[in-house]
């Protein structure tokens, strides 16, 4: 496309969406904290909104949701887009206009940006898809944050249902929307409300519920974003952006993981958790050991809870599916496949129970607030490290990890499984360092280094998968009693044998990749001279 001149930004709406238990919501609605800061008692109102889209979900494809809401005698048409940054309070573009008739009209906003993004959508193409009926109790809150700045926050308790295609879904949410002031106030309020009732971050929007309900459209898995960093930034700011990005990555995949149709959902959540843990390790000199350990505990717990589902996904897709054992292997493999499907179902039940549970909710919101409110400042963080420029910190970190990797890999060809596993862990640490800080040294050398590192890591990963698969196959087969037992055992044998043959190839390639990697210039050293 030909270059455009920059178009004006649509207005942003900053809000934090939370949920609690039924009792919790009741406590929150009547708590002293709210009463003390509210301008008025909670005002009740009923909101009915109808959501529109084309038969081919054109708007949803663009990450947009269009609704017309009846508010008294007003008809308000709103289009909401997806969040811009990765902070937990969603800053979503929102267009709003009053209509004279209850018929959707994208031109009514008078915003060319929106129309350009959507493309040609004729009014007759927009159909009513679903409706949300909400009882909203709201009030305005005045809040002064710790830095002494004032803010105005709208607090709304929503109890309602989404209805469409003869189906219905009930929900209950608490929305904190920033009307004036800085988002700091939003987080402080949320932090204070946690003391009143257990709170969780609600990742599903009303439109999201609707699309899921009537069209089975659910958010797919999302890969990691890369936070914007630069050399002169202070470590504290860089750290904050990295944590934010990784936490968003985690939350963005929550729905996909729960649904479980795409193995990427659980996988990306685990990748996000590893990013978080590696970031904690990288920044431990700044935040202190106690804080790093505390959060590491929680993230490790969650990785563990998602582990069985991940292992079975990999086993099913990469291991079982790739085997071509001919006729004799068909029945045994089919038996193993059935066992795998059953185990996978149970593993995903565990995933769902975990993500709906209290500990996860505490962890997610707790960490989000820890980051946004920079709680490390009062928890034994090292102010000297926080203030150092990110560039220098990055060079030190990368150098340390690189040296450790070289040491561990000294006799690579003769390493046993255990030592190779240790090396793999060290390698991952270096990889994360490069992923986070590579952007600061943007160069061909950095890209070459990252590529060689990734190639080597892939080969090591394959070797690991083979080892895991063997263990899994044997354990699954071990569960089967009676007539199918022999078949299951044979199936396991086929899996182990098949992939063991491949393992030799991986070992050789890994050796070659390791040698190639060792000869690649560590890109951050160039930057120093």
């Amino acid at each position: 496309m030909s270059p455009d001149s920059p178009l004006p930004e649509p207005p942003l709406e900053v809000e934090l969406k939370l949920r609690s238990t039924e009792a919790g919501m009741a406590s929150l609605a009547t708590c002293e904290l709210l009463t003390r800061h509210s301008r008025t008692p909670l005002k009740r109102g009923k909101l009915k909104s109808i959501y529109f889209d084309t038969p081919d979900f054109r708007l949803a494809q663009q990450g947009l949701a269009l609704r017309i809401r009846k508010d008294g005698r007003r008809l308000i048409q709103t289009v909401k887009g997806e969040a811009i940054t990765s902070s937990i309070a969603k800053d979503r573009p929102e267009w709003e206009v009053d209509l004279k008739e209850a018929r959707p009209d994208l031109k009514a906003f008078g915003d060319g940006t929106l129309l350009d993004r959507v493309g040609v959508v004729l009014p007759e193409e927009l159909e009513a898809l679903f409706e949300s009926v909400v009882e909203r109790s709201r009030t305005l809150l005045d809040w002064t944050d710790q830095a002494g700045r004032g803010a105005v926050i709208e607090v709304a308790f929503d109890n309602g249902s989404i209805v469409g295609k003869g189906r219905r879904q009930v929900f209950s949410e608490l929305e904190l929307e920033l009307k004036e002031g800085s988002s700091q106030a939003l987080y402080e309020l949320a932090d204070a409300l946690r003391g009143v009732a257990p709170l969780a971050i609600e990742t599903v929007s009303k439109a999201g519920r609707g699309y899921g309900l009537v069209a089975g459209l659910t958010p797919g898995p999302r890969k990691a974003g890369s936070p914007e960093l630069d050399q002169d930034m202070q470590v504290e700011e860089g750290m904050r952006r990295i944590f934010r990005s990784a936490l968003s990555h985690l939350l963005d995949n929550e729905q996909s993981a729960e649904i479980g149709r795409d193995p990427e959902g659980v996988h990306q959540m685990r990748v996000a958790l590893r990013r978080l843990r590696s970031a904690l390790t990288i920044f431990q000199p700044a935040i202190g050991q106690a804080a790093a350990q505390r959060w590491n505990e929680e993230f490790r717990w969650l990785i563990g809870r998602l582990g069985p589902a991940r292992d079975l996904d990999v086993f099913d897709k990469d291991m079982l599916a790739s085997i071509d054992s001919g006729e004799p292997g068909k029945v045994p493999l089919a038996t193993l496949q059935a066992l795998t499907a059953e185990a996978r179902g149970k593993a995903y039940d565990q995933v769902r129970a975990t993500l709906k549970g209290d500990r996860y909710a505490e962890m997610a919101l707790g960490f989000a607030l820890w980051v946004e409110l920079a709680k490390w400042r009062e928890e034994g963080g090292d102010p000297a490290v926080f203030a150092t420029p990110l560039g220098g910190f990055a060079v030190e970190t990368l150098e340390k990890r690189y040296r450790r990797l070289l040491k561990r890999g000294r006799h690579f060809d003769h390493l046993g499984d255990e030592s190779r596993h240790e090396m793999r862990k060290t390698l991952k640490k270096l990889r994360y360092g490069v992923e986070y800080f590579g952007g600061l040294f943007e160069s061909e050398q950095m890209r070459a280094f990252a590529r060689k590192l990734a190639d080597f890591q892939d080969e090591l990963g394959h070797l690991n998968d083979v080892a895991v698969a063997a263990g899994l196959a044997l354990s699954l087969a071990g569960r089967r009693d009676g007539p199918g037992a022999r078949h299951a055992a044979i199936g396991a044998g086929i899996v182990v044998g098949w992939h063991a043959a491949a393992a030799d190839g991986h070992k050789r390639r890994a050796s070659i990749n390791w040698r190639a990697f060792r000869q690649t210039t560590p890109f951050w050293r160039e930057a120093r001279s």
Partner: protein, 212 residues
Amino acid sequence: MIRVLVTNLKGGCGKTTIATNLAGAFARGGLATALADVDRQQSSLEWLKLRPAEAAAIQALDWRKSVSDESSGVQRLVIDAPANLRMKEVELLIAQADIVIVPVLPSIFDEGSTRRFVRRLDEIKPIRKGKKGVLLVANRLRSRNRATQRLEMFLGEIGMPAVARLADRALYAELATQGLTVFDPQAGRASLQGEQIRAEWRPLLRAIEDEA
């Protein structure tokens, strides 16, 4: 900005009808639209002169002598190319566009020239490299008669199925005399027929948005 070129070396296949109606669709959709006419006969711009003030505005661009660069603020540009151009001239116009739309009639007499044209388009670098898309539109179809079926088979043969299938309607010509398109509400005809006609254009409109 998305720039759409409507072209076919063969005359009479409905280029101007498609170009003007595309422009009408974009304008009706609220997008800042311009229509550029390369033809000496200026059929598109003559049509634009007839356009009533209440209809969604379309900016006129006269490209008879040269390509103008008054495209600031334009979101959708439709270029109407005349028939009987040399391939060199077609190539120059393609350089000014992001997508190429080729109207094709269900006529056995046109098959040879369509096949040749598509082949020659494929030789142009940005098209060969997949950087610019070519969309075929089956135009002036009359029910499921033999000619239509034959066209479908032919397009299948050359590996370029039609993105949209537009029926032959007297309405297009009628509306053209008033400077209107099937997308203008001023069209005033029975709205059900209007919706059916516009529905035929939908896959083309979507494809244009998706290609760019």
